[in-house]
Amino acid sequence: MEKLEKYLHPYWWYIALSMFIKFLGAAAELTIPYLMEIILDYKVPAGSRRDIYLYGGLMLLCAAACLGFNVIANRMSAVSSGKITRAIRHDLFAKLESFSPRQMDSLTTSSAVSRLTSDTYNINQLLARTQRLGIRAPILLLGGIAMMVSMDGLLSLVLIALLPVIGIVVYYVTRISVPLYTKQQTVLDRVVGTVQENITGIRVIKALSKTDYEKERFRKVNQELTDIDRKAGSVSAITNPTSTLVLNLGLTLVVVVGAYRVNGGAVRSGVIVAFLQYFTMILNAMLGITRIFVMFSKGQASANRVAAVLRAPEDLTVLPETQPEPDAPHIAFRDVTFSYNGREPDLQHISFSLEHGQTLGIIGATGSGKTTLLLLLLRLYDPDSGTILIDGRDIRTIPPEVLREKFGVVFQNDFVAEGTAGDNIRFFRPIGDDAMAAAAEHAQADFLRERPEGMEREVQVRGNNLSGGQKQRLLIARALASNPEILILDDASSALDYATDARLRQALYRNYGDTTTVVVAQRVSSLRHADLILVLDDGQTIGAGTHEALMESCEEYRSIAMTQMGDGKEGA
């Protein structure tokens, strides 16, 4: 919870003011039974009708004040809790964006989504309701007690003695229920995950007629959620009837003790009547407070989940700047070793250097570490040992905004957002129409010109209305649009036919001569003109050189090339 306190800070005065107004409302409300007692105890026996009307009028006034104050305070609480939630969500989203892929992998996207939505919603509810009930209930409670004490100390003691009992009940219930609510949110993550999987895999599921299996899978996790939800609810539900019972028992005691006091002439019977009034009020206040505790349990579970994200240490911090090495190549890997899980290395002792405008091709079996190498170059992960340099500077010393500016990237199966084709090429960057059009042209995305909408052409969720090849060309256009210093293409043209792929390569060669390019491909034809080709196998370089050199020296490479070009003699 502590982590979230700072969000309350800017609204301290506002909340204090709203609570003060709420307090005034509660005071007005509290005065009503007090005035009533005066009428019943003094004005009625005195038989003064004028006074009865007068005090009745005062009661009405208090009722009106109570209405006004409460409406204002409620509105203020909605405003402040909305603003606080907005700030928390802002920071949470920013923090999630700043997560390294490693952190995101371990958190999982579905959990991130539910923390941002379901958990912040719970916090919002907690904030709003605590403000609405949080002041009124305790004030009614304290005010009620104060009034009672002022009327009769001994009778009040009966009540005060009971409050700790309620406190203990609330304490234990909260202690049990908070972990339950935390678990509930975890199970909710899994529900979200299952739904996500079903939506993304809908074609496979339908093709394999696995609908029933998926229903069963969902049924299980749904059942689990229901069970934990019910368990948490059943524990929380103890508080309310228990505190009501305790207070009602107190009320009975008051009547009995009161009977002795009245018999002894110590108090008037009107006091007992008023006491019972206050008791009802306190009871309602108590119910309000226990409701807050239930919300608190739920809110705290969520707040902890949110705080866990906010507290996550900053990964991939920037090291202090150092003097760049003179006459350094554009990109250099020096004995880079990396492992995702910290056990088996995924890349070992990778070294190479690349001059400005050169092209690096990477080829190798699946799982040989091709993509991993790119991720390290982009500094989405840090190597376990060795250094990666750009223009002679260790990339860990380059501020991220400077580093990212250098790159244009297309990942395998990269992210296409809902919107227009133009949105996807621009990708939140200030890129002009001409640059976009040029990038699209170079990326061979001529399909954009087929329709009158052009760049405004609609792109559905996940690019579902585009073919694989259209998506890839859109993504390549995105990468080219900023005219990057370094272009990274991770199997980015696999869905393109050879002719288009060849045209793309020519366009890159002609228009991006100064751009240093790193290409991962399965096709030798996509790489053969590269200045340097790395052949990776199981995370190690087993061949490095030009196409010609590798054809001579690298058995693996030669066999790949031979298979692909095959016995295609008839076309030659």
Binding site: I32, R89, K206, K215, N240, V255, R429
Partner: protein, 610 residues
């Protein structure tokens, strides 16, 4: 409000004026229709409901008897000092304790029953939503954001659930309390009741008016929250790309806009929604004042006793408290209703058109596939395929080639009947596939799609996915055939390794191998390979090809691939260009023709520089 008959037809349509985001749009229904719909859920738990009502009535009755008893006790106390009737006091106190304890136990039992019921209902709702999700056509998911759908399953169902469990429970107790209090008051001092005849109708009318004002606000709140979720889900799934481009700030700015809209919608709804409580409280305070003033006058006239007046005031507080609560609940119900609208809209979204009544099971498949004059478009007006015809003999290999965007993936969508043709026919073994059950049609195919899909589960489960009850031997055999066995056995947990979110622990190519293994395990008569090998390195592909040949033996195969050399052996080649089959035939005849296929083939050699 809207026509209640809309409820059945409340289906998703594209949200209007939403700019860049398509939201789930729902039809608005009246409160009555909504209650009726919610009732259908309550009704399924009739036993619990009856139990809840019984418990609620009895616990409230017991609780309500309290003031009557304390009133009696006070009447016994309201005498000059020294004359208190202690036996009455003790008798009353004893009864009070008994009643309160019983009432407490009953209340707890009631809570448990209500919780059980409401959780069951939300479980049922999630279940119904999911059931329908699995029945929806593929096109639905091509159009709507996952996050928005998830928002319905989590936030909206939860909102409905909360309101059913807490609000409905209180509403029920309130109704009992109000009714009982009313009769109690009637029995004590009928004249004072007249006051409530004025205040309650005013309260009722006011609440009704306010509800009408507030409802659209809550609707907007749900919709905006759904839009925010959709955005969040989409952007987080593109996390790596956003990081790579360093666009965090720009995305955050867009997030802020959506977040702002959601918060504003919330603040407005909440501000107006919370007027109800204090207003109703105001009316009940007025009632109380009037009761007090007129009660005092009646006392002065000697028409009521002090103890009675005390009881009456207690009851009238008991009376107004629940009414106060009821008004609050009605406000809460507004948010529940707008949430429920979204829930029901998803449940009602039109599923895949059911199989035709006389649809036959596709049995003992030969694998004779034919397309006759097929035309199709995703968006009306922009045809993807026009007048396509071809015939694939049983056991033949059909290669589909052509430039990207020529409609190759669409052919698969049509073969599997993910989409229905606009005109023309698709025939399997001479039967129009629309006359067959979808399940049997799709079972007849095994496929490896361009987008590999794995779920959170063990590698074993992922491979065995298409074949329930597959043995370890079968799975291992399939994995070996897909050349992924050695990699799997190198993993610490082997086949029990759990693939995490998006299977990020393994590479794209490995994922593809797993999906190939999955397809290997199926014993379907027809096979579809869509770019299946594009992410696998050539050497592995060679090995897979060999395995595939065995798998494909005697099966009708459709292969989309760009490596012309691997398709040369096809029995039949469909050359697509701009949605038209421009050429068909074997490699030899097409090469001899020196047409478009010849060009494509040449391009490959030019590209490879041979």
């Amino acid at each position: 409000m809207a026509n209640p008959s809309m409820i059945g037809g409340g289906r998703y349509s594209r949200g209007e004026n939403t700019g860049d985001t398509r939201r789930l749009a729902v039809s608005h229904v009246s409160a009555g229709a909504m209650l009726k719909r919610l009732w259908s859920y309550l009704g399924r738990n009739r036993l619990l409901l009856v139990l809840a009502i019984l418990l609620s009535v009895s616990s409230s009755l017991l609780g309500l008897y309290g003031p009557k008893l304390s009133g009696q006790a006070i009447n016994a106390i309201d005498v000059p000092a020294g004359q208190v009737d202690f036996s009455t006091v003790f008798r009353c106190a004893g009864l009070m304790v008994t009643f309160y304890i019983l009432s407490g136990i009953l209340t707890y039992c009631l809570n448990i029953v209500m919780i059980r019921m409401s959780r069951r209902i939300s479980q049922q709702m999630r279940h119904d939503i999911f059931e329908n999700l699995t029945a929806l056509p593929v096109s639905f998911f091509d159009r709507f954001q996952t996050g928005d759908i998830i928002s319905v399953i989590t936030y909206d169902v939860d909102t409905v659930n909360q309101s059913l469990s807490t609000d409905l429970l209180q509403l029920m107790q309130s109704i009992v309390t109000v009714t009982v209090s009313f009769f109690m008051m009637l029995s004590i001092a009928p004249k004072l009741i007249i006051i409530f005849l004025f205040t309650i109708p005013i309260m009722f009318l006011f609440t009704r008016w306010l509800t009408g004002v507030v409802r659209p606000m809550f609707r907007r709140r749900s919709a905006k929250l759904g839009a925010l979720n959709g955005f969040v889900e989409e952007m987080l799934s593109g996390h790596r790309t956003i990081r790579a481009y360093g666009r965090e700030d720009a995305v955050l700015k867009r997030f802020d806009e959506k977040n702002g809209e959601a918060v504003d919608a919330y603040t407005i709804a909440e501000s107006y929604g919370t007027i109800t409580g204090p207003s109703v409280n105001f009316f009940s305070n007025i009632s109380l004042t009037l009761v007090c003033v007129f009660g005092s006058i009646l006392f002065l006239r000697g028409q009521v006793r002090l103890g009675d007046l005390s009881s009456f005031v207690q009851y009238s507080r008991k009376f107004s408290g629940p009414i106060n609560e009821m008004a609050n609940i009605i406000a809460e119900l507004q948010s529940a209703f707008s949430a429920a609208e979204r829930v029901f809209a998803l449940i009602d979204a039109e599923p895949e058109a059911p199989d035709s009544k006389d649809a036959k099971e596709l049995e003992s498949v030969h694998g004779d596939v034919e397309m006759k004059n097929v035309s199709f478009s995703y968006i009306p007006g922009s045809p993807i395929i026009t007048d396509l015809s071809f015939h694939a003999q049983p056991g033949s290999l059909t290669a589909i080639v052509g430039p990207t965007g020529a409609g190759k993936t669409t052919i698969i969508n049509l073969l599997m009947r993910f989409y229905d043709v606009d005109s023309g026919q698709v025939l399997v073994d001479g039967q129009d596939i629309r006359d067959l059950t979808r399940a049997s049609l799709r079972r007849a195919y095994s496929m490896v799609l361009q987008d590999t899909w794995l779920f959170q589960g063990s590698i074993f489960d992922n491979i065995a996915y298409g074949k329930p009850g597959a043995t370890m031997e079968e799975v291992v055999a399939a994995a070996k055939a897909a050349r992924i066995h050695s990699l799997i056995s190198r993993l610490p947990q082997g086949y029990d390794t759990i693939l995490s979110d998006n299977g990020s622990a393994i590479s794209k190519g490995q994922k593809q191998l797993l999906t190939i293994a999955r397809a290997m395990l199926l014993d379907a008569q027809m096979l579809i390979l869509d770019e299946a090998t594009s992410n696998v390195d050539t050497r592995t592909e060679e090995q897979i090809q060999a395995a595939m040949r065995t798998l494909m033996a005697g099966k009708t195969c459709f292969v989309i691939a760009h490596r012309l050399s691997t398709i040369r052996s096809a029995d039949h080649i469909l050359v697509l260009r701009g949605g038209q089959v421009v050429e068909q035939g074997t490699h030899e005849t097409l090469m001899a023709k020196r047409g478009f296929y010849y060009e494509l083939y040449q391009a490959q050699f030019v590209a490879q520089g041979c």
